[in-house]
């Protein structure tokens, strides 16, 4: 660069074709030089950034019922395979109409939650009785997360957004680190996606929504399954419930553990 006016300007792309150089297209005999976990991209001032998760929350499960939504998550944040923080609420009350369940990198969850809290304070300052709705928050999160992903600097989170909309209509959706959003009567992150969603879908009565009791039984059952099967879960969990009369985060509840079958396992 002949005229280097801008020392902070980054090249348009990394590891790509450069004028005058040979470029090896990927595929074929290309060796994998970096494990995905260690893949780094260039940051400013010659630093390197990775997009790995560090302290993570495991599963979050959300179930929509006829009177609102329930979102449950266990109270552990792991550091890789270490159960580092064991009493962390991962379900947050955002306002009377919205609940947020945060999974994956917990530092990023805290960061985005801080921004969301500032939005809620701004809403309160306006004092015009207009509260944010869950659909609006979910859409906003999608836009923010997609923007971060496009800049190759994602917030490594997987969140469940739930609540009731203007006419008391329940809303439940899932937004992930790439800004992908979808709505359904059951959404989950992490291992719950594989273990809990099929369980809930199987019990869905045809042609109607769950009742509150059915939903809460399902939550209890799924948390139990997750505790037994997901090695990054703990037996304590909190549940957020949002209905037209408001939202509240209840807990912590404890899974009914029963390890008596262990003695039947060969090699125990």
């Amino acid at each position: 660069m002949l005229n280097n006016y801008n020392g902070l300007a980054q090249p348009f792309w990394q590891n790509g074709p450069a004028p005058g150089q040979f470029y090896h297209f990927t595929g074929g005999q290309q060796q994998i030089q970096n494990l995905p976990r260690e893949l780094t991209t260039a940051g400013p001032y010659g630093t390197q950034r990775n997009t790995a998760r560090i302290t993570t929350g495991s599963s979050v499960l959300g179930i929509r019922f006829d009177g609102g939504v329930m979102i449950a998550a266990d109270t552990m944040v792991s550091y890789g395979s270490l159960s580092r923080y064991q009493s962390i609420d991962r379900v947050f009350k955002i306002n009377e109409k919205i609940l947020l369940g945060g999974g994956d990198d917990f530092a990023d969850i805290q960061s985005i939650k801080r921004t969301i809290d500032q939005k809620m304070i701004a809403d309160q300052c306006r004092a015009d009785e207009i509260e944010m709705k869950p659909t609006e928050l979910a859409m906003w999160l999608t836009r923010v997360l997609y923007n971060r992903r496009t800049r190759m600097n994602p917030l490594f989170i997987d969140v469940v957004v739930g609540g009731v909309n203007a006419e008391g209509k329940p809303f439940l959706g899932n937004v992930d680190l790439r800004g992908r959003f979808y709505e359904d009567f059951v959404v989950a992150t992490g291992f719950a996606r594989h273990l809990a969603i099929p369980l809930v879908r199987e019990s869905k009565p045809a042609g109607r929504e769950f009742t509150a009791e059915e939903a809460s039984n399902l939550i209890r059952k799924c948390m139990e399954v997750l505790y037994y099967r997901d090695t990054r879960n703990t037996s304590k969990y909190t549940v957020g419930v949002c209905t037209p009369s408001g939202s509240v985060v209840e807990g912590p509840y404890k899974v009914d553990e029963n390890w008596s079958f262990a003695s039947t396992i060969k090699g125990y």
């Binding site: 015009d128 207009i130 709705k133 659909t135 609006e136 859409m139 906003w140 836009r143 203007a166």
Partner: protein, 296 residues
């Protein structure tokens, strides 16, 4: 109002605590033809008096659209004053609404948008290198909090109204609105529009009514903002006519404070006018068309 030594800059106060440039900007609103906004529980209507151009009335550039501007599906505005300034404000409101919808997938709450607009307009009254926008606006909208009519003036004042009329000779429209105010909340859509048309017919006064067209726009529950076309305008106009002549007499208006100010302004501009002579601007219409910014 007469020229004085405190009116050269918007950043200069007069000893009486007035900002003359801002007040002069309010005069520009009074130059534009009248427009009325009123709301019921479920609908908000905007009615405007547009000057018809003598060339092709059916042309795509006919002035039917110039006074009422849609902002979003749930909001629109009608203006009185400098159209050029109005376009800038309208463009700002539209882009705010679009941006909000992109981020949150929902209607921009009207009260918030209009408050932010007021803040933006205030900056123009406090900088030496800017001037106030020379346009008064009536913003009609419908959101989760119901129907709204907001009046925004060049002074950056924003008023939440049940009904309002601005522009030239709007005092008679305001008098009509005041008289029937209690009936608006529970009006049907048709009655609301007819009240609006009756109000604005008062603002025509003694002028030649073929020179003006009445344009109507409506927004409300399950009704995205819509400006009526010729046929629909005509239908409502006919219904309104059956309601009789708007009950105003020049004498009654003259006795109200607003009426006196209106009359005084007219006299200063045009000299004392007997009944039947319109504003002096009419005669210049054809020769001056397009040469200078015409307040609409």
């Amino acid at each position: 109002m007469f020229r004085n030594q405190y009116d050269s800059d918007t950043t200069v106060w007069s000893p009486q605590g007035r900002l003359f440039q801002v007040e002069y900007a309010m005069e520009a609103v009074k130059q534009g033809s009248a427009t009325v906004g009123l709301k019921s529980r479920d609908y908000a209507a905007l009615i405007a008096l547009c000057r018809t151009s003598k060339e092709a009335e059916d042309s795509p550039n006919s002035p039917l659209q110039r006074k009422i501007m849609p902002v979003d599906a749930h909001m629109g505005m009608s203006i009185a004053g400098l159209t050029a300034d109005a376009r800038i404000v309208c463009q700002h409101l539209r882009s705010e609404c679009m941006s909000f919808r992109h981020s949150y997938d929902t209607d921009y709450p009207v009260q918030r948008l209009v408050t932010n607009l007021g803040i933006k307009l205030q900056a123009t009254t406090q900088r030496y290198n800017r001037r106030p926008f020379g346009v008064g606006m009536l913003i009609a909208g419908y959101d989760e909090k119901g129907t709204h009519i907001f009046q925004v003036m060049p002074s950056a004042n924003v008023f939440n109204c049940k009904a309002m009329a601005i522009g030239s000779r709007s005092q008679s429209a305001r008098t009509y609105l005041e008289r029937h105010l209690d009936s608006f909340m529970d009006s049907t859509k048709q009655d609301l529009i007819c009240h609006g048309i009756q109000a604005i017919r008062g603002a025509l006064g003694n002028q030649d009514s073929s020179e003006f067209t009445i344009n109507v726009a409506i927004v409300g529950k399950d009704e995205p903002f819509k400006i009526f076309n010729e046929t629909e305008n005509q239908i409502y106009f006919e219904i309104a006519k059956t309601m009789g002549n708007p009950v105003t007499s020049d004498a009654e208006d003259a006795r109200s404070i607003g009426g006196m100010i209106d009359m005084m302004d007219d006299m200063l501009e045009h000299g004392p006018s007997g009944s039947g002579s319109g504003p002096a601007l009419d005669t210049d219409e054809e020769s001056n068309a397009g040469l200078e910014p015409r307040p609409q």
